[in-house]
Symmetry: C2
DNA sequence: TCCCATTCTATGGTCCGACCGTACGGGCTC
DNA sequence: GAGCCCGTACGGTCGGACCATAGAATGGGA
């Protein structure tokens, strides 16, 4: 056991505990896959109660750097992991709901991130990435697809291309930002006058986007995805205002 | 084809509490500024223990949507707020430390976000934004400035311009991404062969960047900030490897 | 000998009741 | 009326008890 646990005092105990663990992560003494001592041992080692320790662990779990499993054996206990996606998604989703960001903010951020994603994907997406995107697109084209499923698959399509960019950070950000407006987009899709036609039009974009990425035409893909996103968000503004009023 | 048994995991109590509060936020029933009932009332109202409730509140605090103050009066209690910046910064910083993202990922994300920020700022920064950036730049130019302070001010300069873009989401993302590599940049600055010359060169960039933003030349500002960031990160790669090995 | 069911136990998850520190509000003193 | 003091409503912390889970250890039967 390389990590050492030193006692901690004063002011919001769980924050001090958090700092202590954070420092070990930042210093590289705790790495992904490492297991923390059991709560019942670690708490007294830090000189705090188990409750205070648990609150600190909960924070780390929220951030996506820790998971805990009960039981016994190699799989049990608290482990350092790397799961930023859900954490980031929830963060942006809640803050968007609270009005920290406007819909226009999200639109511009999506345009910026996805332009970059598509350009990078056109340069460096692997065959595997493209095949997965193709499969999502196939399911996206199924006739009679409900708006909810369409919304899920659409999200996965955009995220999949972002993954193809080879940049985990931008793809995570892309996924999180897309996630934050998911309920809004769902409302917009459900309110479409002619849903089959709307879906078909969106899929035409998707098909062309994938073709451009495959062909390595990054600039064209970036331009198209910008038009694509602005198009969807154009139908969203009214929905957002309506939703606001309705609530 | 056997039946699929869907329900696999039963949620933990604090997660259910979290969902309940989250749902009220997403539904707009809880808005920024609203105050939650005291823990001792809310816990039994939800049918859970105070500990479980507190863990849920801690999660919300981590996300930056809640703050708690002890004491008595209007200021006390748990309140819904909108403070995404620290939360996002810590999240990315820890995940970068854990290796969820490579330095190259961060570099490309910074380039993408800041190109967009500088272009937008050239279009829509207010005089106030520019004046604040100017003031930061003045302090950045002080002779004999230590690397640590330079690093802080440099971060604030970039974030200030991002704020000037008028997009809170991209500026928050910019700040968080910049924050995640702060320790690395600090090490690189401290290791510079000729620190005063390095600082002067960086400030020449900053001065020109601000001039371009003022002049509304967004495209030129975007190109320069990309060169500026790539320049700094070029000196970082070695440091990162060295830091890795040293640990 | 091998397999399987049973029991053990280490681990996180939850709950309770108590006490501490803080800061406002109201009452008391001067 | 002004200033001090104490009560009180908060979040923060603590310790202990018990529950749920799941691998490990055990032991009996084929």
């Amino acid at each position: 056991m390389a990590a050492e646990w030193r006692p901690v005092r004063q002011s919001r105990t769980h924050e001090l505990v958090l700092e202590s663990i954070e420092a070990q992560v930042l210093a590289g003494e705790l790495k992904a896959g490492d297991r923390l001592p059991p709560e019942r041992e670690l708490a007294p080692a830090l000189g705090v109660s188990r409750s205070a320790l648990r609150e600190a662990l909960r924070v780390l779990e929220t951030i996506g750097v820790l998971v805990a499993h009960a039981g016994r054996g190699a799989d049990a206990g608290a482990r350092i992991v790397r799961h930023p996606d859900d954490a980031l998604g929830r963060l942006l989703r809640l803050h968007f709901a609270l009005g920290s960001y406007s819909l226009e903010n999200v639109l511009e951020a999506r345009v910026t991130l996805e332009r970059s994603s598509f350009e990078a994907a056109a340069r460096s997406a692997t065959d595997k990435d493209l095949a997965e995107a193709e499969e999502i697109l196939t399911r996206l084209r199924e006739p009679g697809l409900a708006a909810a499923e369409f919304n899920d698959l659409d999200t996965r399509f955009h995220v999949q291309v972002a993954r193809g960019s080879g940049n985990d950070l931008t793809s995570t950000l892309t996924a999180a930002v897309r996630e934050s407006v998911r309920p809004l987009i769902l409302r917009a899709l459900e309110a479409a006058d002619d849903w089959p036609a709307t879906a078909a039009a969106l899929n035409d974009d998707h098909t062309e986007l994938l073709r451009l990425v495959r062909a390595g035409e990054g600039a064209a893909a970036a331009d198209l995805v910008e038009r694509h996103i602005r198009g969807i968000h154009g139908t969203l503004v009214d929905e957002a205002a309506a939703g606001d009023g309705a609530a």
